[in-house]
């Protein structure tokens, strides 16, 4: 049984330089995430969870250290190249969904593929698949403000997985949802993971972090604990149609 490394971080630091104070948000984080894993990053508020996720998602860059995603060294990448890597390899789900209100559900989900320059047929097929997976195909022509918060989060997940990324990063997916919708979204993430998606999720909710295979606990920008919660599932061969 072989495990492909999707994320490899070595000694990651992140400093924010203010006019008077320097904030050291991450202090030497090193970790690896394997293909097919479902990892939860946990910790109290201000411990650096979201900062770590944004660096992982190439939305921000580390002050120090090296970060490889799918074997690509990201430290030397220029902005547009980082964008390209993000488009090809990463799907990102935000706590606040970040859907574009002026676009329909279909158009929002199609966005990564449009930016990738795929043709209309490919886009249609992939978007339809993604919306089916999250159970939102019947709302394809709706605008985000016409659907509920839980549905918006499902659309955001569909957008994250439509480009068949190697890694799906999920930032507090249930933070803006009630328990019922939160449970539904977690169920969906677990299903996607079972279908082969590698998922890294930031959460401070212990109920949901317990559903992950592995937990990485942060405190004051450092990893203070790693917990293997379940036997790492046998890594399935990745089903490209699904992911």
């Amino acid at each position: 049984m072989s495990k492909n490394i999707v994320v490899s971080m070595q000694n990651i630091h992140k400093k924010y330089l203010g006019t008077e104070i320097e904030t050291h948000a991450l202090q030497g984080i090193s970790l690896r995430i394997y293909e097919g894993e479902f990892v939860a990053i946990t910790g109290p508020s201000g411990c650096g969870k979201s900062t770590l996720l944004t660096i992982m998602g190439l939305l921000d860059s580390a002050s120090e250290g090296s970060y490889h995603i799918s074997g690509i060294d990201t430290s030397s990448l220029k902005v547009d190249h980082r964008t390209q890597v993000r488009n090809q390899h990463i799907g990102y789900v935000f706590q606040s969904f970040n859907l574009i209100d002026s676009m329909t559900v279909y158009e929002n989900v199609a966005l990564p593929l449009e930016h990738r320059g795929e043709n209309a047929q490919v886009i249609k097929s992939a978007v339809t698949d993604a919306l089916e997976k999250v159970g939102m195909q019947h709302r394809a022509q709706y605008k985000p403000n016409q659907i509920s918060g839980g549905q918006q989060q499902r659309v955001a997940i569909a957008r994250a997985l439509v480009g068949n990324p190697d890694l799906i990063l999920v930032d507090e997916p249930t933070g803006n949802l009630d328990t019922q919708n939160g449970d539904a979204v977690m169920k969906l993430l677990m299903t996607l993971n079972k279908q082969g998606s590698t998922i890294v999720m930031v959460t401070h909710d212990s109920r949901y972090s317990g559903l992950a295979h592995r937990q990485i606990q942060l405190l004051d920008g450092k990893v203070v604990g790693k917990k293997q919660l379940q036997t790492s599932p046998e890594v399935p061969s990745k089903n490209k149609d699904v992911a």
Binding site: V79, R86, F94, I100, S102, L111
Partner: protein, 822 residues
């Protein structure tokens, strides 16, 4: 591609769904673009396109300017005989032409038509390269018997009928055969020609026989002498001046005139025809171009600030795009595409308004610009319009996204929308606003000086009032009769005076007051007379004015000293003199002391005059129209009588109009050698004379107002943006007890440095720019510090209001309501 198509479709929808963005853009950009396009079309026609009617290659205008009196230059070539003389000197190497344009009334096909009349010499149209449409050329033997007409007149009055046999037109009371048709002569910038028209009539004198008659010893304005030939063969200015000395010595036989002419400074001129024809219009085009481009820039800066504000509110959307794999270039492309429908509409509006402005140009520009009928929008204008809007759109697309920080996407993605995000520091918006204020200062300063100058010129105190007075005149159409009367000269009771008396008596039947003077005080028909100072021998220049009983009272000309003239006969001829003349002649004595003194204006006994009174100086026409500084002397018996026309002044009761028909009826049958009754009201004349100045004033004032409005919109937009972005902070401050006045101070303080910097830089730039304008235009009015300061204080007040009002609207709301809205 779909993204771009969708962006374009969204752009179309946004025209209707986002009117606060689309309407200002379409209207502001469209209108300023129209102004720019109009100026570009004008410049292109004036400066670059070949002249539409004549062949300008190897064609030059020559002139010999004589400093007749202070501020008044006259053209020595005003008599074509002199052109014939210089032509003879240069032989066949060069072709010469001469034109005296004027306005005339003709009758063609029974219809009275006002035309531009060219009194010219044989071969002139051919020298210009003006195409002969039909008929005979102008160098035929019997050229003086007939006339030639322009193509426009031929088309409108003769329906382009090529058979000119038997076709005549009535000019100066005579029917003259039409010998040919020339193309319209448009490349002509005639001084003093009120209505330059393409309805034209040419009359020619035989160039070769002009030297057979003596020089008329007269000097006029508004003539044009041109010559065609290789530049190497052209006379130099020094050669023209040398010819002048020879001519005066050999051809002027009256000694007094010869001495006078040789005492004057002359300046030979030889100018490329186009340069002479365009004249100051070239500089005017540059100034207009600067003003219009400045307005366009101001409008763009405004719109750009609006766009930045709009796109700042969409930061999150762009961050989402980038997060999902869009490059920055693609985002800019999407913004460009999204804005394309609005910009296309703006350019369509710009083109339509520009075309409309072109139609209005003859009214707007009056006589200030030549070739008005040939200024149109063409393919170049359309390409220029599209290029300009696409360029502006591209710039907007680049700058609008400037606040999207690609290195800190999470800031945008996670922003709460409350307060001002760190990346929205407004530095660019404020810099743009400073730039806009600086430009506004420059434009407003120039405009205020120009408006004040135009106002002073149009509404200057002329030294007399404007009663309901009319100048009534008739033309003498019999040259022999005129000649015989001229020979009778100043003999009292001569035939001319009898005709004149009859004329005045007949006019008295109109139930109005008739003044036996030749012209109204407001007149372009100015005679000047020079006499040698008996003490120094220097030439003294005066403006003789006819006096009549009630003249001074009717026009409220102030009598400053002495008494008025009376109709009674006296031993010595009595005169009234203007104050300026009294000051000049009194020397070190008081000017009032001139009353009772004698003035000798010649060698004869009858050239001695007794000054009985001194009156205020009067100005024949508002400033800038006619530069005559010679002082007036009022004569009871006019020494200079205009033999070309019989005229008098009729003052009607207020509210009553004097018509041409009334006058024709009154003078019916006076003498068959008199024709062409003309009636012109004083107020109408003032309206006509000041029309262009007033129109310029209104246009420039409109431009200034537009500048002020643009600046106000820009600053209030920025203030609105600042207040809107700070509304969370303001609401929290309000909720915690800050007074509204304190919050208003906070907002004003935030924008104050921008205001001070913009106005400070603006005043410096305005002074520098105006110094440049003064170097460019010698006739530009001097810099006006008081006016500049006033207009800038006004600008500052408007700006403060523009900052305060939008801010006040935010802080006047209930704080909890603001907080709830966020």
């Amino acid at each position: 591609m779909r993204l771009y198509i969708n962006a374009f479709k969204r752009g179309i929808q946004r025209i209707f769904s986002l009117p606060r963005l689309s309407l200002p853009l379409i209207s502001t950009l469209g209108l300023t673009l129209a102004a720019v396009l109009s100026v570009v079309a004008i410049s292109n026609t004036l400066l670059f396109k070949p002249l539409p009617d004549i062949n300008e290659n190897d064609l030059y205008q020559v002139d010999l300017q004589m400093a007749f009196s202070e501020g008044l230059n006259v053209q020595f070539f005003s008599d074509p005989r002199r052109v014939a003389s210089i032509k003879k000197r240069y032989g066949d190497e060069l072709s010469w032409g001469h034109v005296i344009p004027s306005t005339a009334n003709i009758e063609l096909g029974g219809q009275p038509i006002e035309v531009t009349h060219f009194d010219s010499v044989t071969g002139s149209p051919e020298v210009l390269g003006l195409a002969l449409i039909t008929g005979q050329s102008s160098d035929i033997q019997n050229v003086e018997e007939g006339v030639w007409i322009s193509k426009s007149l031929w088309q409108s009055a003769l329906n382009s009928n090529e058979d000119l046999n038997g076709k005549t037109l009535r000019l100066d009371g005579e029917d003259r055969p039409i010998f040919g048709v020339f193309d319209d002569f448009a490349s002509l910038n005639a001084v003093g020609l009120n209505n330059q028209s393409t309805q034209q009539v040419w009359r020619f004198r035989n160039f070769d026989t002009l030297l057979e008659t003596p020089d008329t010893i007269s000097l006029n304005l508004g003539t044009m002498t041109f010559v065609r030939g290789p530049e190497t063969n052209m006379p130099t200015t020094a050669e023209i001046e040398a010819w002048y000395v020879d001519y005066v010595n050999n051809e002027i036989t009256v000694e007094r005139a010869k001495t006078f002419l040789l005492s004057k400074t002359v300046e030979g001129q030889k100018t490329n025809y186009r340069d002479a024809f365009i004249g100051d219009s070239q500089r005017l085009a540059f100034v207009l171009m600067f003003a219009m481009f400045s307005l366009l820039i101001m409008a763009c800066l405004n719109l750009l600030n609006m766009f930045i504000a709009h796109y700042q509110s969409r930061n999150k959307e762009f961050a989402i795009h980038i997060c999902n794999g869009s490059t920055f270039t693609r985002l800019r492309g999407l913004v460009f595409t999204e804005n394309l429908p609005m910009f296309i509409l703006a350019s369509i509006l710009g083109l339509l308004v520009a075309e409309w402005l072109m139609e209005l140009l003859p009214i707007l520009a009056g006589d200030n610009l030549p070739l008005l009928d040939y200024i149109h929008l063409d393919m170049l204008s359309i390409i220029l319009a599209l290029s300009v809007v696409l360029f502006i759109n591209a710039i907007f697309a680049v700058i609008s996204l400037i606040y999207v920080d690609k290195n800190a996407l999470t800031d945008s993605l996670n922003s709460s929308g409350k307060g001002t995000p760190a990346q929205q520091n407004q530095l660019i918006s404020k810099t743009l606003m400073v730039l806009q204020l600086t430009l506004a200062c420059v434009l407003l300063t120039g405009a205020s000086i120009s408006v004040k100058d135009s106002y002073d010129a149009a509404y200057t105190d002329l030294g007399y009032s404007m009663p309901n007075a009319y100048e009534v005149s008739m033309q003498i159409i019999d040259d022999n009769w005129q000649e015989s009367m001229r020979e009778q000269g100043r003999l009292r009771g001569n035939e001319w005076q009898q005709v004149r008396q009859d004329f005045v008596t007949r006019l008295s039947n109109l139930d109005a007051q008739v003044l036996d003077v030749d012209v109204l005080p407001l007149t372009s028909n100015v005679s000047l007379r020079a006499f040698p100072d008996p003490d120094t021998g220097n030439s003294v220049m005066i403006r003789p004015v006819m006096w009549a009983p009630k003249l001074i009272e009717t026009f409220d000309i102030t009598l400053l000293a002495g008494r008025n003239l009376t109709p009674d006969k006296a031993t010595l001829s009595e005169v009234l003199i203007a104050k300026a003349f009294a000051i000049e002649r009194a020397g070190e004595d008081k000017w009032e002391s001139m009353v009772g003194k004698e003035i000798r204006m010649g060698e004869e006994e009858e050239d001695i005059f007794l000054v009985v009174g001194i009156v205020e100086d009067i100005v024949p026409l508002p400033a800038g129209t006619l530069n005559v500084t010679a002082p007036e002397i009022y004569f009871k018996d006019p020494n200079e009588i205009d033999f070309n026309r019989l005229s008098a002044v009729v003052v009607m009761p207020q509210g009553n109009e004097l018509t041409r028909e009334q006058v024709e009826q009154a003078v019916k049958g006076i003498d068959p050698r008199l024709n062409e009754v003309q009636v012109e009201g004083m107020v109408q004349r003032w309206d006509a004379v000041t029309e262009t100045t007033r129109l310029n004033m209104y246009i420039v004032a409109g431009l200034a107002l537009l500048t002020l409005v643009l600046a106000a919109i820009g600053v209030s937009g920025l203030s609105q943006m600042t207040a809107s972005q700070k509304r969370y902070e303001l609401a929290v401050r309000m909720a915690t007890g800050a007074k509204q006045s304190k919050l208003l101070q906070l907002l004003i303080k935030d924008s104050l440095w921008m205001l001070i910097t913009g106005l400070g830089l603006g005043v410096i730039a305005a002074v520098l720019a105006y110094r440049f304008v003064l170097d460019f235009f010698s006739s530009a009015p001097p810099f006006d510090w008081a006016g500049t300061m006033t207009i800038n204080v006004l600008l500052a007040c408007v700006m403060l209001l523009s900052i305060a009002i939008p801010g006040w609207r935010v802080i006047s709301r209930d704080p909890m309501r603001v907080l709830r809205d966020l």
